[in-house]
Symmetry: C3
Subunit: 157 residues, 3 copies
């Protein structure tokens, strides 16, 4: 964001826990690192699921309230449909070498991106530090987030 | 966003009317003001509920289309489940000193943050100026929004 | 975003396929062009529907998982309710001279805004170049997006 017109840093907030809520932020962080752009990921609200030891395996696609899926609403609400769609998407992603959430998160951490959990959300859900995967650098406040994000682009997903 | 790497202003757009749609923006605005960062909140589409006199008390958690809640879809669709989850979240928030939507919005306005409603959305829903709480400074166009947001970060939630 | 405090460019990402997911981004792009601000639109995930030849006519309002509509959840899940709400919203928009999605997208392209599809999402859904409307300039990677977005504001919707 400096005057020379290059992006030097992105601070990506992941606030949703669904598959289609988590992937855009992961893809943007991964793409930034591939370009040599500094990238930090901040997980807040239901987005915390993506870095939660016992939940990140189960991030699922939202099949109701999502007209983009072209399913009648009542089909989306049938037991099992969300799991089925997730398996379908996962298979497609696999074929495209897009890893599942846990592997993708680990991969992005390995590129040097910082992973942070939002303090207010951690308190809200009653989580503790040890609930999160080891790659999480810190649990930080909104103020600390702004400090880290300064000089770059904030992308709320 | 100046060259010295500090954030001087945030312009936060709140576009969703659910509890988990409204809170992130409020928390980010509140956190900005606590750091002495200029903050303006722009309410658009269903986000307008959060500043609507007769609706801000009733902003609710979306219990369907939200895999983050770990509820089977059909449970989320049962009458009353959304209201129940909202009460549960509200109790947790209360324990953490996170105020309910109306008090939180008032508190943020008191810190000097500007509250604005989106003209196009106000027209779309057929609202009038007097439908909104007194803390709303103005109903503005997208162009006026860009003028106000210049020199800072735009955060769409 | 230059030091003089004016916004020179906006890069708007449209990631959702519902009516209320697509419109905010379109309205912000249109408003930017009206102010002489450079605007580019990036369609990703279900947002691709808005530029898909056989799908852009059918972008619908999400009636479940959306407490902002003030419908009991079970009403929103009834067959036909989403289509009904969409027709209601479309009528209101028409009265306000807000065009339907296809006309709005064409109009924005005519103002000189750039329309781009996200490569990863195109691969994910198995789409091809010819599935998209002629106004789409290119299918680009995340890295190319960052290059295009440099020097402006990124707005993820």
């Amino acid at each position: 964001m400096a005057g020379d017109g290059t992006i030097e840093k992105v601070s990506i907030i992941i606030s949703k826990g669904s598959l289609e809520g988590v992937y855009p932020g992961l893809i943007m962080a991964n793409g930034a690192r591939a370009e040599g752009i500094e990238a930090n990921l901040f997980f807040t609200f239901f987005g915390l699921d993506a870095i939660h030891e016992r939940r990140w395996e189960r991030v699922r696609l939202a099949t109701v309230g999502n007209p983009g899926l072209h399913l009648p609403t009542w089909v989306g609400a049938l037991p099992g449909v969300s799991a089925l769609m997730t398996r379908y998407m996962a298979r497609r992603m696999d074929r495209l070498d897009i890893p599942p959430v846990p592997e993708f998160v680990e991969m992005i951490a390995d590129t040097g991106a910082g992973l942070y959990a939002c303090q207010a959300s951690v308190d809200l859900f009653g989580y503790r530090r040890e609930d999160f995967i080891g790659q999480v650098k810190d649990i930080i406040t909104v103020g600390e987030f702004y400090d880290l994000a300064a000089g770059g682009q904030i992308i709320f997903t």
